[in-house]
Symmetry: C2
């Protein structure tokens, strides 16, 4: 059973790890949000892709929720001593991804080739694809003016009030090589429990990806990012209030209307008529076992659906 | 007494540190070879400047002879795991200089401004100037073909036989801002005991610097890089053989003919008629005391000379 999953950062990476244990890992393709990507200190940083690479290769710092396990911080200490920008933390080991990616991009390699090579080098049998090799930037219009994603998310800790979100460059972006065929050839397509507005919408804003989802033969199932009606972490709840979206899984289902065929809802959530096929399970993914179980639930639910 | 010293890497940095102890450090200006500079993994590396910054700020790894004391190596480990180039070792803390320099150069700042800022941030009261803000590259013509300096020095460990050395871009390079006035305004000008062919010649190949030395009112004194007739470290002796230069301080003095007014020779060397003013002292600089003593000897010798 070939599965293609659209995913963002940490929460999505947990599901993809579960899928890579529930299935032969080579049967899993992750198409990853790159709207968070940005250039910092001249280095090209791809936070969601890197989180997935660390997670799938067993290098993720799961306690911290981002970056590498056992990371050291000599670089940041030296940057601070030189009065360099230190609002975005780059670990010593983590820098290798950014330095090598930046050098290879500058040499003309597309991001997807570089990421594929990184994954191979780290023994990742699943396919990790950026959503596009083109530049897309998630920009938030806030009460402090327009902020690029990392400025909002890291530097300003999601504190500014968000009025609108746009994905600069998305309308001209082409899906990365392999993304369309991974959607067309999948037996199930999943949308990971990532932030719908910040992590999944950039993917859906790439015209070719949205069309491929519409044309796919396999059912598309979203795993709700809400557990007991609330986001596990991150600004989903705050954002929904600010964007004037009703709280709860019904609003997220409505947000995905026309894209998904089914919604996998946390069993703690209040039952609601979603106007679409749904299933319920414990979607909280604390340990690896949880991730595998949620992955299996999503796959079983997808199998039960037809287009 | 204002002193300006032309210097290369490790040996030169020892002398500059001695000068900064023998004099008020603000009275010392170092003009540093940038012919070794190169771009590695997309990062601009300035080995001789960085060695001097580390030495003057007390951060140098004196046992290793290069890099930072207490350095960690997570970056290189991760680079290797990704099959990145690992022939040139970049320490985690060391990376801060390269990343910030590269980002600031890309933003249009000249190297001299960046280096001056680094020095200030690290509390270095002496002036550290690159020889030029223009690109100059030391290229060795060897029996393995043309090699850029670091390829010869680090990757090939000085093993190839050298037929000729050239300094690409030097003829069009302008001295960095402040370099000419530091030479014109000095009470003594020193040439550090760096490799004459690889570290000092690039400086002398910048037309404005060579002319400024000729026009200077202060005497120019070279400290011989030979101790007991041999180079303390590095490829000086091997190079002299390959380039068909006689071994010994007389040949080095001849090499500097027209540039220097005096040569400070190690007391172990066999006396020789250098055809120029000379003085003798113990030039081996193992500990800080040695460096201060050699600096004082060079300054006293320079004071005894007139142009």
């Amino acid at each position: 059973m070939k599965v293609t999953v659209l995913t963002g950062g940490v929460g999505g990476a947990k599901l993809v790890l579960g899928l890579a244990h529930a299935l032969p890992p080579a049967d899993v393709t992750a198409i990853v949000n790159t709207g968070d990507d940005f250039t910092h200190l001249g280095l090209r940083v791809s936070p969601d892709i890197d989180t997935l690479l660390y997670t799938l290769s067993g290098k993720a710092n799961t306690a911290q929720g981002w970056g590498r396990e056992g990371e050291s911080w000599s670089f940041m200490d030296a940057v601070r001593s030189l009065a360099g920008e230190d609002w975005f933390a780059l670990g010593d080991g983590d820098l290798a991804l950014h330095v090598l990616r930046t050098a290879r991009l500058a040499a003309g390699e597309p991001l997807s080739t570089i990421v594929g090579d990184f994954a191979r080098r780290w023994g990742i049998a699943s396919t990790v694809l950026p959503m596009t090799d083109d530049a897309v930037a998630t920009i938030l219009d806030t009460d402090e003016g327009e902020l690029a994603f990392q400025r909002y998310f890291v530097a300003r800790r999601c504190e500014p009030r968000v009025k609108a979100i746009r994905f600069e460059g998305a309308d001209r972006a082409h899906p990365a090589p392999g993304a369309l065929s991974a959607i067309a050839g999948a037996d199930a397509i999943l949308i990971a429990p990532s932030n719908p507005f910040l992590s999944v919408d950039p993917l859906l804003a790439v015209p070719g990806l949205r069309q491929a989802l519409a044309d796919a033969q396999a059912p598309v199932v979203a795993i709700s990012p809400l557990v007991g009606g609330r986001a596990v972490k991150g600004p989903t709840g705050k954002l929904m209030v600010e964007l004037g979206v009703d709280q709860g899984v019904a609003a997220i289902t409505a947000h995905y209307q026309g894209v998904i065929d089914g919604m996998l809802v946390d069993e703690r959530d209040a039952p609601a008529d979603l106007g679409i096929a749904s299933a319920r399970t414990d979607t909280l993914m604390l340990a690896l076992d949880d991730r595998i179980r949620v992955a299996r639930s999503a796959l079983a639910f997808a199998r039960s659906l037809r287009r």
